[in-house]
């Protein structure tokens, strides 16, 4: 009897964890940090969090598709850095103003194409491919920046990120939420979105029903690149410069946000729409712990523990026989 009851509890916790638990965690974090720090629940800080979280959210969206299909993109942060550097260079050379965003998205898309093509045609695990390009892209960006922060001077470009079309909400947050809405729609209402689940859930099955796997795998990496490009351009617009440390924290934070949001690294489970909550949790933790004066090292410890805890609670591990 007792066993049955505890199993019932475990099941209901898991059912709740699907959606409400992460939402509860977000609300809980806001309440906790509001009490723990006077500076937390202020307009200034909220606007700040929105700005920070927006870059992370933009960078996560494409990568969520990649993770959903059971692959991984480690090069997101490096693409943000390289595209950010390229964007500033373009701004300073051609005076394209806000149009630089399009250059950034195209550049990102091409970097994603490189990842996807090597992965799909070369049949090399995505972990290895993007580990390699992570280094290649980062090195190229540093080469371009000569190791220094490169400033730009364009009001229209700056306005893209820190302007407030709606009072108190920086434009970059509108971009991020808009992109999230579009990505969620793509995930839930298109053939591409469906195939991401299918490839992640059972690639060998997908190959017996004629799904053009190579093509869709490349698409996913191109979208990851495109979103990273957008994130890179807007991050640079927000910061006023592209520096060598741009995107440095994204490697861990994107994967953490995706996993905490509920998309399984083994593929086929979760979805891009869920990444919003993951991003909120990571961004709130970063900001709140900073304000509380928790030192950098302890922050890392806490963040890591949260990622593991989220997976521990959220996923039904009884179904997985082999965990790698």
């Amino acid at each position: 009897m007792k066993m049955a009851a505890s199993r019932g509890l475990a099941t209901s916790v898991r059912a709740l964890s699907g959606f409400w638990l992460p939402v509860g965690v977000v609300i809980g974090l806001i309440v906790f940090f509001s009490f723990a720090s006077n500076a937390f629940f202020t307009l200034r800080n909220m606007t700040g969090i929105l700005g920070q979280a927006s870059t992370l959210l933009l960078a996560c969206l494409g990568a969520s598709f990649v993770v959903l299909m059971g692959s991984i993109d480690l090069s997101v942060g490096a693409m943000v850095l390289l595209v950010g550097a390229v964007t500033v260079k373009a701004l300073n050379l051609f005076d394209v103003g806000a149009g630089a965003v399009f250059i950034a998205m195209i550049a990102g898309c091409l970097l994603g194409l490189v990842n996807g093509a090597i992965y799909a045609f070369g049949r090399i695990p995505s972990f290895v491919v993007t580990l390699g390009t992570l280094s290649v892209f980062t090195g190229s960006a540093w080469e371009l920046l000569q190791g220094r922060a490169l400033q730009y001077f364009s009001d229209s470009f700056e306005n893209l990120a820190i302007g407030q079309f709606i009072p108190l909400i920086p434009n970059i947050a509108l971009f991020a939420l808009g992109a999230w809405a579009i990505a969620s729609l793509i995930g839930q209402t298109t053939r591409f979105g469906r195939y991401m689940y299918i490839i992640g859930g059972g690639e060998s099955v997908a190959s017996t029903v004629g799904i053009p796997l190579t093509r869709y795998k490349i698409y996913a990496f191109m979208i990851s690149g495109l979103m990273s490009g957008l994130a890179g351009a807007l991050a640079v617009a927000r910061l006023g410069a592209a520096g060598p440390t741009l995107g440095e924290d994204l490697l861990l934070n994107t994967l953490a946000a995706i996993v905490v949001g509920g998309t399984s690294l083994s593929g086929g489970i979760g979805g891009v729409h869920r990444t919003l909550i993951g991003v909120a949790i990571i961004a709130l933790l970063d900001n709140g712990l900073n304000l509380m004066g928790v030192n950098q090292y302890t922050q890392m410890v806490i963040k890591g523990a949260v990622v593991i805890a989220a997976v521990l609670i959220g996923q039904d591990r009884r179904k997985s026989i082999v965990i790698k």
């Binding site: 053939r191 299918i198 099955v205 190959s207 017996t208 029903v209 004629g210």
Partner: protein, 529 residues
């Protein structure tokens, strides 16, 4: 071995085993025992509770209620390792060998410590010697130094059987092993089957207890000393094989008798004058099949039979364009000759149902509806702009679930809790969601219970009557004979013979087997007589 039989003590006794999974009662108060020196058969449809019972007996699942005694002592099994220490060994339905290591390493998996000297250095020669001894004692002629991945599927199955049968005595020092065999013969070739039956007979002579689960009732009847029948999680009877027939067993299992129209032979139509839907010429794939030519007409069921390694499954994959052939062409209807290309074939209305349902057939973690729409994402279930047609998916799935009697509460239920038969119907439904002209089936009733089997036969017949061309690749002889209009027999990758199978003149099993083995039919009949 009389000395083991001490007043009513049996090798294994389970009393009142009960197990629930959510809404379903998997086992309801099942009593069960295995005697020393006896082979006990366990039969029942899929979903009757056989696997659950075996899982409980080997400590993999814990029962909600009930007790297990081994040699008269009550035990609580925490996991499979626990069960192994008590002399239980099991051959699982899915093979559990590691393919990239030698056979001896698989046989002795988990017992490496006894070959270790100085802590970590493993004495390879001693391992090989003991492993070979296990093989020889079991009467199996496989060199244990061979790479496991190089063995045929059937040989690998034998390795697993040897591990289960010889392990308890030769590795754990158990006097009287209890061996649980879950469908051990399903993937054995004919010549390996005899080796297997000799082995379990020897085990019986040494007072071992064997539990033998099989869908092949004939085997069960000839090999077992006692047969237990499960139905819907309950024990519905124990049968003395000396007095029972297949028909009686079947009736106990499904609660109804198999009638003469099992394969709906009366509905078979003459297809001689019909149009050719699909033709292949000169198909070849290295190491699999060679120079295959065939034709299928509208409404025809073309059976393809042969031994396990005859190349028939590889041919099916080639025809469907999944692993395209190295040479040769196919032609669909009035189109020209072309190389098989999967996307093109599917778009033109060719469907393929693979033999390995859970590996290639379906994504069990995803909803039924998603599995049904899987092959039609490029046309039926999405708009030209690439948006998914959710409503059509829901409607078509609900309709097919009803039409094929798939037992499910909702089209959005995931497939992993469906029985094998219902899962197979989902895979078939996937192709019925499209306009088809040819359906290629590889062992469509493997691991499917008798009830679902009947429904699948009826469906195949009805589809053919509607003009669908069907290529039926199967290991089941009766199915091959009963359903097919014509039967291609493959041997060593070539079509050895094309045997017509009209309603009033079906070939005999002996004829087909002799063609598969390429011995003279009369000679074989003589052997049998």
């Amino acid at each position: 071995m009389v000395e083991h039989v001490v007043d009513g003590i049996v090798a294994l006794r389970a009393s009142g085993l009960t197990k629930r999974f959510g809404e379903t009662q998997a086992l309801g108060a099942v009593d069960f025992s295995l005697d020393f020196g006896k082979i006990t058969g366990l039969v029942g449809e899929n979903g009757a509770g056989k696997s659950t019972l075996l899982n409980i007996l080997t400590g993999i699942t814990s029962p909600d209620q009930g007790t297990i005694e081994i040699s008269g002592r009550e035990v609580v099994l925490k996991d499979y390792a626990d069960a192994q220490m008590l002399g239980l060994a099991r051959v699982f339905q899915e093979q559990a060998l590691i393919l990239n290591i030698p056979v001896y390493a698989n046989l002795l998996l988990g017992s490496e410590a006894r070959f270790a000297s100085l802590g970590q250095f493993i004495r390879r020669s001693a391992m090989i010697e003991l492993a070979q001894q296990m093989m020889d004692t079991a009467g199996v002629s496989i060199d244990v130094r061979r790479h496991t991945g190089d063995l045929s599927f059937s040989e690998r199955q034998l390795v697993e059987i040897v591990r289960a049968c010889m392990g308890p005595v030769m590795l754990f020092g158990v006097g009287t092993p209890i061996v649980l065999l879950d469908e051990p013969t399903a993937s054995l070739e004919k010549r390996d089957e005899q080796t297997f039956f000799d082995l379990i007979t020897r085990l019986r002579e040494q007072a071992g207890s064997v539990l033998f689960v099989s869908h092949r009732l004939g085997e069960i009847l000839s090999a077992c000393d006692e047969i237990v029948v499960l139905k819907d999680g309950r024990r519905v009877g124990a049968v003395d094989p000396a007095e029972a027939s297949e028909r009686q067993l079947h009736r106990l299992m499904v609660g109804r008798e198999r009638d003469r129209d099992y394969y709906h032979e009366g509905e078979q139509v003459d297809v001689k004058d019909k149009d050719v839907v699909f033709a292949a010429r000169g198909l070849a794939r290295r190491g699999a099949y060679d120079n295959v030519n065939l034709e299928v007409r509208k409404g025809e069921i073309l059976g393809i039979g042969g031994l396990l390694e005859s190349g028939k499954s590889a041919l099916g994959r080639g025809l469907a364009g999944i692993s395209p052939p190295d040479a040769g062409e196919i032609r669909l209807m009035q189109d020209g000759w072309e190389r098989p290309d999967i996307a093109h074939l599917i778009a033109k209305g060719v469907g393929y149902v693979p033999a390995e349902r859970l590996v290639e057939g379906m994504i069990a973690s995803l909803p039924i509806a998603w599995n049904i729409s899987l092959a039609s994402g490029q046309d039926v279930f999405s708009t030209p702009a690439g948006f998914w047609r959710h409503r059509r998916e829901a409607e078509v799935s609900a309709e097919l679930i009803q039409r094929l009697h798939i037992r499910a509460t909702s089209p959005y239920q995931s497939c992993d809790h469906l029985s094998g038969g219902n899962q197979q119907k989902v895979v078939l439904a996937r192709w019925l969601a499209r306009d088809l002209c040819l359906l290629i089936l590889d062992n469509p009733t493997r691991g499917v219970d008798a009830g679902a089997k009947e429904e699948i036969y009826r469906l195949i017949r009805a589809l053919a009557a509607d003009g669908l061309a069907v290529i039926l690749i199967t290991d089941e002889l009766l199915e091959l004979i009963g359903l097919s209009n014509n039967i291609a027999i493959m041997r060593h990758g070539r079509i050895e013979a094309m045997v017509p199978a009209p309603v009033d003149d079906k070939p005999s099993e002996q004829t087909l087997v002799s063609l598969m083995l390429s011995v003279n039919a009369g000679q074989l009949l003589g052997d049998v007589a």
